[in-house]
């Protein structure tokens, strides 16, 4: 191809093209010196939100630490698609130990670095991130995560939330939203899909630990995500960033709609995007143009059972009520 049109303003996305900005104002992803912490060639599905989220977050953390970063990774899609030996996408020191112990492994890395630094104060300082999927974070890794939070260990933990155990074939996790179909909450029976009144929202639990920094983000807002990672790296102690990462395979969405799905989650109020310090909300990203939850639900096959010949208005209303509650609770219409 000899000519590629450049879109400066992508209509409907609210995204200003980076090329309009001065180089120093560009996002890390758009800058010429971005680290490419996760190299191309990995085996994620087309349009994988987790691959995108990890690249955004880790590149931003690399930028913030001038490349002095070590990552611990839980078992899950990110670990599997980025590695099988002898190939690895990771351009940074990286360790995978188990599914449920990533926060603790990171604690160990941080402890070792603290002693190394003490013994050699002139050495450049190295920081630690831990990362895992929602299953590895909210379920099996929860004990280790809570321990790391409570001790205020110097670790940034990043959860890539795609709402289920995707690596094992899309089973329900405690982050799977109500009504969503997964392989273990099938769209059958009188109440198809995942049950209402269950599950947990880990950012709120992280806040209850009163750790220095908690934030949520989505892959739809690159600048916001990068700013939060940068902010997190300015702080010492336990930090937590929970990133919504749509999964085309598990959600049943088109691979070119990943960003759109993440944006719809935010614009409907389904997923609140905010920042908290020491257990108190400091800011929330305002909804720019509020949309009904149907707009978010309808394109996803995991909610297809809600939109048959007879849309299941009762369940859709319940989901709208959850979004409305988020909007009230996090003041998403006014923004903070």
């Amino acid at each position: 191809m000899s000519f590629q049109p450049v879109k400066f303003y992508q209509t409907g996305t609210f995204t200003v093209g980076n090329r309009l900005l001065a180089p120093e104002e560009r996002s890390v992803q758009a800058s010429g010196k971005r680290f490419n912490s996760i190299n191309s060639g990995h085996r994620a599905c087309q349009g994988c939100g987790e691959a995108l989220g990890a690249r955004y977050a880790i590149d931003a953390a690399m930028e913030a630490t001038q490349g002095q970063l070590i990552a611990a990774n839980a078992t899950g899609c990110l670990e599997v698609f980025s590695t099988p030996y002898p190939e690895t996408s990771w351009q940074i020191p990286w360790i995978h130990s188990l599914f449920g112990n990533t926060a603790a492994v990171a604690t160990g890395i941080a402890a070792a670095l603290k002693i190394k630094q003490k013994k050699n104060p002139r050495a450049q300082e190295i920081r630690v991130v831990a990362q895992g999927g929602d299953g590895g974070t909210t379920d099996i890794g929860f004990g280790c995560l809570s321990g790391m939070f409570e001790r205020n260990d110097d670790v940034l933990y990043i959860c890539y939330d795609n709402g289920g155990y995707m690596n094992t074939g899309v089973q329900r996790s405690s982050a799977t939203p109500p009504a969503a179909r997964t392989a273990t909450t099938m769209a059958v029976g009188p109440e198809p899909g995942n049950a209402f009144g269950q599950g947990k929202f880990l950012p709120a639990i992280a806040m209850a630990h009163e750790i220095p920094y908690v934030a949520t983000a989505t892959v739809a807002d690159l600048r916001d995500l990068e700013a939060k990672v940068r902010r997190a790296m300015e702080i010492r102690g336990a930090r937590y960033i929970h990133i919504l990462v749509p999964c085309p395979l598990g959600w049943g969405t088109y691979s070119n709609e990943t960003i759109k799905m993440a944006r719809l989650a935010k614009e409907t109020g389904i997923f609140p995007v905010f920042e908290a310090e020491h257990g108190e909300i400091k800011s929330a990203l305002a909804i720019r143009r509020q949309l009904p939850v149907e707009d978010y639900l309808k394109p996803q096959k995991r909610y297809a059972h809600l939109f048959g010949k007879q849309p299941n208005v009762a369940v859709i209303a319940k989901l709208q009520a959850l979004a409305d509650r988020n909007i009230r609770k996090y003041k998403l219409l006014e923004g903070v």
């Binding site: 490349g67 002095q68 970063l69 070590i70 611990a72 670990e79 599997v80 590695t83 099988p84 030996y85 690895t88 990771w90 351009q91 940074i92 020191p93 990286w94 360790i95 995978h96 130990s97 188990l98 449920g100 112990n101 603790a104 492994v105 990171a106 604690t107 160990g108 890395i109 941080a110 402890a111 070792a112 670095l113 603290k114 002693i115 190394k116 003490k118 013994k119 190295i126 004990g143 280790c144 809570s146 321990g147 409570e150 001790r151």
Partner: protein
């Protein structure tokens, strides 16, 4: 320096002399005094340049250890019993990653029924986890083995468990010779990892490996343990040169030269066995004792050599492979496969049951006449067992077994079913 102290404190001091950089700990009896001692030393700064982390579980303890060891820090933890099982997944992971963590196991029974007293079920349940396992006979040896363990682990890039009998050793006050810092420094060089997480040279550690290379990776873990069979006696010799005492090695024979019967065991019961054998020797029995210090790697050749002139062996073990008999015995049998020896398995001391010289003498006397059953449970209360078996034949709802046995034994408060 000679001093009188508790086994746990002796171990804590020895570990501190090894200059660990990260210690993580979760309490479980009878391991507690060891990590309490170390925690205090870190806090009052007698142990400098060391991070002591109070973790939220044993699974976290081993996971923190994995992270710190992979970052190049000399790392130590301790556990026992339920704690070892709770960390099991990470225990296998640490050895699979080739991380030279040193861990004390204050050997204790495994429930249910929950029981805090000593036997070897915990570490032996982890026999195939890829860690080396060294068993201490005395508090002095426990102390010495920790110093050797760090050196061994770091040389061969594999983790090492130092196993010491819970309460019997950990809580016993005995005289020990505490080494000087300079001696330990002369013996134990700084840790130089084979792989380390470092931004200057990024590596990916712990990624997935398919069928193309998995067998080879596992074989190399085995080969490294086999290599340790050579290194362990050399280390004991090097240790003796600096510290002046015999400690460690693969096996320790006692009065085996002309013995017809050799009784094999691990840990503190070796003391009782030696006394028993001394008495039986005086009464004219040709009997000796073989202590196994290195259970993993298992010294097949050394055990075979030690048994080559006897007529029979008795393995006395504080563990039970339910459904077959002995764990140590199975390993010993492999060592003597083609030697045509009579072999007996004696399960003893489970859950802290006392092992007395009187019972040992009677049992070994029977063994000497080849009248012992192939698998014997020393001092088992057959009356209580048979009564329960009978009850289970005639009643369906017999309730918890342990309670029924205690009720039969006349322990008040036990419920009737």
């Amino acid at each position: 320096m000679l001093k009188q102290c508790e086994g746990s404190h002796a171990v804590a001091e020895a570990v501190a002399l090894c200059r660990p950089e990260v210690i993580c700990a979760y309490p479980i009896s009878p391991q507690t005094h060891i990590v309490e001692g170390l925690g205090e030393m870190v806090k009052d700064e007698t142990l400098a340049d060391c991070e002591f982390i109070n973790v939220e579980s044993e699974f976290a303890a081993m996971s923190v250890a994995i992270g710190s060891s992979a970052t190049g820090a000399r790392t130590y933890t301790a556990t026992a019993s339920q704690g070892l099982l709770f960390m099991a997944e990470a225990v296998f992971n640490a050895s699979g990653l080739g991380l030279p963590i040193v861990m004390t196991v204050a050997n204790r029974a495994i429930g249910a029924p929950i029981n805090i007293w000593n036997d070897h079920s915990d570490s032996l349940s982890m026999r195939d986890c890829g860690w080396l396992q060294l068993f201490a006979e005395t508090n002095q040896e426990a102390l010495d083995l920790h110093i050797q363990a760090f050196k061994l682990a770091e040389e061969i890039s594999l983790p090492v468990m130092v196993c010491m009998d819970g309460f019997i050793l950990t809580h016993a006050y005995e005289r020990v010779d505490m080494p000087m810092q300079a001696q330990v420094d002369a013996f134990l060089p700084a840790y130089e990892p084979r792989q380390v997480l470092d931004p200057a040279e990024p590596v990916s550690i712990g990624a997935m490996v398919g069928p193309e290379a998995f067998m080879e990776v596992r074989y190399l873990a085995h080969a490294r343990q086999v290599q340790a069979l050579e290194r362990i006696p050399q280390l004991a010799a090097e240790f003796k040169e600096i510290f002046g005492r015999d400690s460690g090695g693969l096996i320790r024979p006692y009065r085996c030269e002309d013995a017809d019967t050799i009784v094999i065991a691990m840990g503190s019961v070796l003391g009782t066995l030696k006394d028993t054998v001394d008495e039986m020797r005086e009464a004219g029995h040709k009997i000796g004792v073989l202590g196994i210090i290195s259970f993993r790697p298992f010294p097949l050749v050394a055990v075979a050599a030690a048994l080559k002139d006897c007529k029979r062996f008795v393995v006395l073990e504080k563990s039970l492979a339910v459904g077959i008999g002995g764990i140590v015995a199975t390993n010993v049998r492999m060592a003597v496969t083609s030697m045509g020896l009579k072999g007996y398995t004696v399960i003893a001391g489970l859950g802290g049951r006392a092992i007395t010289m009187k019972s040992l003498t009677a049992m070994l006397d029977k063994a000497g006449r080849d009248e012992l059953d192939l698998v014997t449970f020393l001092d088992l209360d057959w009356k209580a067992v048979n009564k329960q078996i009978e009850r289970e034949k005639t009643h369906r709802k017999t309730g918890p077994v342990a309670e029924a046995l205690l009720r039969d034994a006349g322990i008040v408060g036990a419920r009737n079913y």
